[in-house]
Structure formats: C-alpha cells, structure tokens
C-alpha cells in the first residue's frame, strides 16, 4: 500500500481492527445498491428480488456455521449482535424465571462487558467473572465449579481481540449446559480463521461481524439456536422473526455471506499464510526487540495475531512512531484523545499497570508479505531502541 499524499510505503498490520473489503465481495455487493435496490420486506417484485438475495445469503451463512437458515439473525455488526444475545437472553431468562446470574470473563470485548455491567447496574442481574491465567486462558474445569444453578447465561469470547488467545469454548459450553444455562460466544475475531461449526462448539448464541473477514462494515450476524427465546433489543418491524426491527441491509448481507464463503473456501491457504507471517513476526520481535514479551497463549492463539508488551514503553508513543514510519499497528490502551488507560485484559492476566500501558498488537492479513514483516521488525527494533535511549536520557 502507498500513502496517497507522500507516496510512502504503508504496511497495515491492524487486521483485528478491520480488513479491507475483498474486491470479489465488492463486486458481489454492487448490484444490490442499484439494480436490486428493493426492500426485502416489500411484497412486490423488487422486494422479492432483495428478499431472495438475503435468504440466499442466510443459507450460505447457515451452511458455513452448520446450522439452519432460520437460526441466523442479521444485525449491524458485532456490538449489536453481542447486545442482542446478552440482553435478549438475560431478559427472556428472567421472564421465564430461569435465574438472574450472568457469567463472563474479564477479557471480553466491551460490547459484552458493558452490556453485562448495564444489566447488573440497571436491571438487577448478578454477574460472576471467571478468572483467567497468565496466558489469558479460562480454565473450563474451574469455570464449571464456579457456575451456579441460578446462571442464566455464560458468555466467553472465542478468541480474544487483544491477546489472540483461543478459549476452550466447547468445554465451557458443555459446563454451561450442565447447569441449564445458555452459552454465548463472541466469535468476531475467530470468524474467517477458526472452526465456526456451532454444533461442534456447542454454542447457543454466536456473534460475527463481516468487516473482520474482508467483508463490508456495518453488518454482522447472530446465530440463535432454534427454540431459544430472545427478547428483542431493537424494537420495530417484524423483520428477522421479530427479533430485530429494521430494513435489512441487502448489499451488506450479500457481502458478508460472500466474504465468509471465500474465507472458508480458502481457509487452508489463508491460515497457513497467516501463521507463517505471524510466526516470522513473533520470532523477529522476540529476538530483535529488547524488553519485548509475548502476551497471550504461545500456541493457542489466532493465526493472524501477535501481541506484546514492551518493557518501559507506552503504547501510544510507539504507535505514533510506527505510524510516521508507515506502519499501522494498535495498542490496547491506545486512544486518539491522549487519554490512555491500562488494558483491563492485561491487568486481569496479572500484568502490572505499568506494563498494561505498553501493549503492542500486530495482526497480519492475507496479503501481508514476508518482506513487509522484515521491514516492520527492523523498524520496531530501531524505534524501541531510540525510545529506550530517549527515556534513559530523560
């Protein structure tokens, strides 16, 4: 990639934040902005054409998730899917008298954590946080012993966005089911890289978001196992079996299905390529950058995901230096308003607050090259050395 103004080389290593939309996906979407513009809920021909496109997409997703089409609810993205899953299941459980305890982890995405917090503070639910170890792993055995009979819903992230650790989702789902609780997983980072078979995972509710797997922004889906009552979170028309009011985003839905289809059709090559680049990156950083520590599980991690803390450096400063060198990276505590907070995920893993400000996340994509990684490792090594020198001087 090139910067349009300076024509300097840009290396984008923030694919966990978002990915570019695959041109094949864009192509699939285009007719649904103009030629097939109908409202999928309309009774006329234009509406039926849109409806068919949406239902084809639903079927594609259902095949990929190994579920029934009617178990897919289209949403505006990961945050909405998480809100709908947790609020919807929690409120329904209360209506049915199935308990008022929500079990989750301290390393969830804010879309989950803040939803649970709101249910606790505003709606009288109770919450249990499952502990994580130094790799950010939830122990399924320990989780089972913590879950009580009043548990309505267990929500554990499939693969963490900050540290890339893959959680033992199917074991956790089994533990939840033993207590009669529902199990939700936020699979936003996992989708496109890990097994999404909801039967194998044992998930009752599963969240995905298209723009994380080379689909468009502003569209996502929630898998809702048949028979689960879900109190709607967004009131409105009777779209999506009354679970989510609002005109369907036909081009977005078509794009999401196309993107996920491509991801799983090309899964083996993509994963092999991501792993190779990620491992090259981790090896390079660990051997070349003084004070770098890998965060998250060394083996059980997303193929695309490398994350570190660098001793004595704050993430914001590092990101600024990398940006000026054409490298797009991210930090858990990074904040464009200059108000960094230590990462809650790293704190929960037992890292001291000082280190929890110094995180660096580099997430590779399907088009990242060996040469890109070489440049990035070299640049980070030089930048960190320079910042260490500067700090020692101060």
């Amino acid at each position: 990639m090139k910067d349009s103004r300076t024509s300097r080389r840009i290396i984008y290593l923030d694919h966990s934040a978002t990915t570019p939309t695959d041109p094949r996906v864009v192509e699939a979407m285009l007719p649904y902005f103009t030629d097939v513009f109908g409202n999928a809920a309309s009774a006329h021909g234009a509406g039926r054409k849109a409806e068919m496109a949406v239902e084809d997409a639903r079927e594609t997703l259902a095949n990929l998730l190994n579920c029934q089409p009617k178990e897919i609810v289209f949403t505006s993205g990961g945050t909405e899917s998480d809100n709908l899953a947790i609020r919807g299941a929690a409120i329904s459980a209360r209506i049915q008298g199935r308990g008022a305890r929500l079990v989750t982890t301290p390393i969830e995405h804010d879309a989950v954590l803040k939803t649970v917090e709101a249910l606790v503070s505003q709606s009288g639910f109770e919450c249990t946080l499952l502990p994580v170890d130094g790799d950010g792993m939830v122990d399924a055995g320990e989780a089972a012993s913590v879950m009580r009979a009043d548990t309505a819903l267990v929500s554990v992230i499939y693969a963490n966005n900050e540290i890339g650790t893959i959680e033992p989702v199917s074991a956790l789902a089994a533990a939840a089911h033993e207590r009669g609780a529902l199990f939700h997983t936020d699979a936003v980072q996992a989708a496109g890289q890990l097994n999404l078979d909801v039967q194998a995972l044992g998930a009752d509710l599963l969240t995905i978001s298209a723009h994380k797997f080379y689909g468009p922004k502003g569209v996502g889906a929630l898998f809702v196992r048949e028979g689960i009552e879900l109190e709607p979170h967004q009131a409105g028309g009777s779209h999506e079996q009354g679970r989510r009011g609002g005109t369907l985003n036909t081009p977005g839905i078509v794009g999401m299905a196309k993107a996920l289809e491509l991801a799983y059709r090309e899964l083996d090559e993509r994963v092999a390529q991501l792993r190779a680049r990620r491992d090259q990156l981790i090896d390079g950083i660990m051997t070349r950058v003084a004070g770098a520590v890998l965060t998250g599980h060394a083996a059980r991690r997303l193929p695309s995901h490398a994350s570190f803390v660098i001793d004595g450096l704050d993430g914001n400063t590092l990101l600024m230096h990398l940006d000026l060198n054409g490298i797009a990276a991210s930090s858990a505590s990074a904040c464009k308003t200059g108000n960094p907070e230590p990462s809650g995920v790293l704190l929960a893993m037992g890292l001291p607050a000082g280190q929890a400000l110094g995180s660096l996340r580099l997430t590779v994509g399907k088009d990242t090259t060996e040469d890109d990684i070489e440049y990035v490792v070299e640049t980070i090594a030089q930048t960190v050395e320079k910042l260490h020198r500067l700090r020692d001087k101060a």
């Binding site: 914001n316 230096h321 000026l324 464009k336 308003t337 200059g338 960094p340 320079k386």
Partner: protein
C-alpha cells in the same frame, strides 16, 4: 537538504494561530506533523475533566485542520507530567506566598521540554508553535528571541525561559505577521478564523475559580490571618493570602484615613501587609531562576527595558547580574505592582535577552 526532508512538529490547538503556523509550514514544503498535548485538568463533579487547552472540541478542530492540510496528527498524553510540574508549581508558589505565572513554567517544562523531546524523538528538526515571536541569528551564530512583529500580540514574555538548545529547534511562523494578516492567511488557506482566548487564564481549573481550587488543593494558603501595616500594627483580618495581589485596593475590608493597598505578604506569619499609595511604589526588584537567552551571563551592569507582567509596559532599568542565577533591576521610575512570582523579562528594543522570576521588590 530541501524542506521536504525536514520534519517539523507543530503544536496545534485548533485555534487560528497554530493552524496558520501549520499551513505556512506545509506551504513551505516541510514534512509537517501536528500534535496536541492532553493536559491535566482538575476532576469535576461530572467526571469529564477537560483542560481548557485541549477540550474535545479543540481536539476535533485540530484533527480536521490537520486532515485538511494533509498532515498526520497525534495527541500526546501529558496529564501526569503537566500535573507534577505546572500544576504543582502553581500550588507550591502560592504556598510560598507569591503569585506564579504557570505559562512560563509550561513553556519551560512542557512545550519546550516534554513536547520538544517527543518531537526530536520523531526525528523532527523543529518544534513550531503559534506564538507571536521571532527567532533570529546573531552574527556569531547565536540564536536570538525577538518580539513578534505585531507588538500588541507579542508573546516573547512567556518564551523568555528558552535557551540556545530550545531556540535552535524553535519555529514561530506567525511571529512574522500582524494578527489581521494571520486572519487573512487563515481565510486564504480555508481554515477557521476564530481566535482562541489568550492562554493567560489557568487552563487546568475545573471552573476557572483559582481561589476555590487553592482552598481544595492548598487550604493553608486560604487560611485567615492578620492584615498589618509596615510597623506591625494589626488593623484587620484577611481571608487567606492567595486572595490578594500586590497593588490591590478593593476588598480589603479595613478602615483607614487614606486608601490602603496591598504592598506585600509575609507567608511565614501569614500576614498581609498594607500601606498607603506612597508606600506602594517600588523601584527595585531581584529575580531568581534567571535565564540568559544567549547562554552567557553579562559581566557588567547594563541598561535595558524590563516587563514585570505579560501585559506590562517595558520600563527602563539598570540590570545587575548577581551570579549566574539571579539579577537585580533598578527602575528609573517606581512601579506600583512588582509582584513576586511573576516573570521579569529583559528587552533591548525588540530583542528579548532573558528573564527571571521576581523574588522580591525592594
């Protein structure tokens, strides 16, 4: 080396002056990077504390301007550094019974230390700000600080703390223009022309009320004590020394045959000293923490003009260096408001020679 190979970090506030500074540098072809510092502000009851130098509105203004100019823009977390230097200094100086000018301290420790170091770390050659001041080179190669061309807007007073290392990396692009010209430039560049309020107010106060701030953070300086005449006679009670400034007449709450003014403070015994108009005028001061911009302390006493406040008129005085860190100034005419804690800044015409912090009036 052409300008495109020279990186310049511009301290952006979202206001017209720093925006025009950035635009001028972009026009001159420099590799420009915009930056804003997130400074500490007193937490408020509602939680969201925003220093008045970096509110969310100013941040989004600066971000938009940077985007229009096609330059990167970053916000640096400076909260703790600012709190432990400038805000602490403000509190400590009040504890010492003097009236500080935090802007001097901010330029010394924040803009031209913290921010400059960050700029240099980004391989920038220069740090530019929207100050109305100019930098020139003497024949011997020394860097000189001059008043901005627009005498009314001149801000060299708050930059008098800079030395050769800082000035060698400083650019003040709008110092070459008058304010109306800067507005015209803003229009030409298609930038917002609204002016930020002058940075003389205390940006870190939640509500702008420094008395309330001090009663919370340094309650001892807001403790009642005696109002005395110079002979020691107690004639009333004050509400805490930090409520008063030298030369103040109103609000003393004392009865006397002729008008009385604050002529001094004695923090050791928490006494406010008042006297008549005749007792108010002082023609000498000493200053400490002196910075000679040339880096060389003058050997002989010399005549120059001295500004005793940001907005004061420069007044002729005989300057006598006292070691490397202090000087004595004897004014031709007595001044009514020489205030310990404020800067005494020395000029020779439009050339700023340096300055110090007023220690006491004599």
């Amino acid at each position: 080396m052409s300008n495109k190979d020279i990186r310049v970090v511009v301290a952006m506030s979202g206001g017209v002056d720093s925006s025009v500074a950035a635009a001028l540098l972009v026009e001159q072809g420099y590799d420009v990077v915009g930056m804003m510092m997130r400074l500490w502000s007193e937490p408020t009851m509602t939680g969201g504390a925003h220093n008045r130098c970096c509110t969310p509105d100013q941040m989004s203004d600066a971000r938009r301007i940077a985007d229009r100019l096609g330059i990167p823009f970053y916000v640096l977390d400076t909260k703790e550094t600012f709190r432990s230097t400038v805000v602490q200094y403000f509190i400590d100086q009040h504890r010492d019974g003097v009236t500080p000018n935090p802007c001097l301290e901010c330029n010394r420790q924040i803009r031209f230390e913290f921010l400059l170091n960050n700029a240099l770390a980004l391989e920038a050659q220069y740090l530019a700000t929207g100050h109305y001041a100019r930098v020139s080179r003497a024949e011997n190669g020394q860097f000189q600080l001059r008043k901005g061309l627009d005498e009314h807007k001149d801000q060299s007073y708050v930059l008098s703390v800079l030395g050769q290392p800082q000035l060698s990396h400083a650019l003040f692009p709008v110092g070459e223009y008058a304010k109306p010209e800067v507005r015209q430039l803003a229009e030409r560049f298609g930038l917002p022309t609204a002016s930020k309020k002058d940075s003389q107010d205390l940006c870190f106060l939640g509500d702008g009320d420094y008395r309330r701030f001090l009663s919370q953070y340094a309650p001892e300086v807001m403790t009642e004590g005696p109002i005395v005449r110079r002979n020691g006679e107690v004639i009333g009670q004050h509400q805490g020394l930090s409520n008063y400034t030298i030369g103040q007449r109103k609000g003393l709450g004392v009865q006397a045959a002729e008008p009385l003014y604050v002529i001094g403070m004695n923090p050791q015994v928490n006494a406010l000293v008042v006297g008549t108009s005749d007792e108010l005028g002082r023609s000498e001061l000493t200053a400490r923490r002196v910075n000679w911009i040339s880096g060389v302390t003058p050997v002989e006493p010399f005549y120059a003009e001295v500004k005793i406040r940001y907005k004061a008129k420069p007044m002729r005085a005989l300057i006598e260096p006292l070691g490397d860190d202090r000087f004595h100034a004897a004014f031709d005419e007595p001044l009514r408001d020489i205030t310990p804690g404020q800067g005494a800044v020395i000029y020779n015409g439009d050339l700023c020679l340096g300055g110090g912090i007023i220690e006491r009036q004599v």
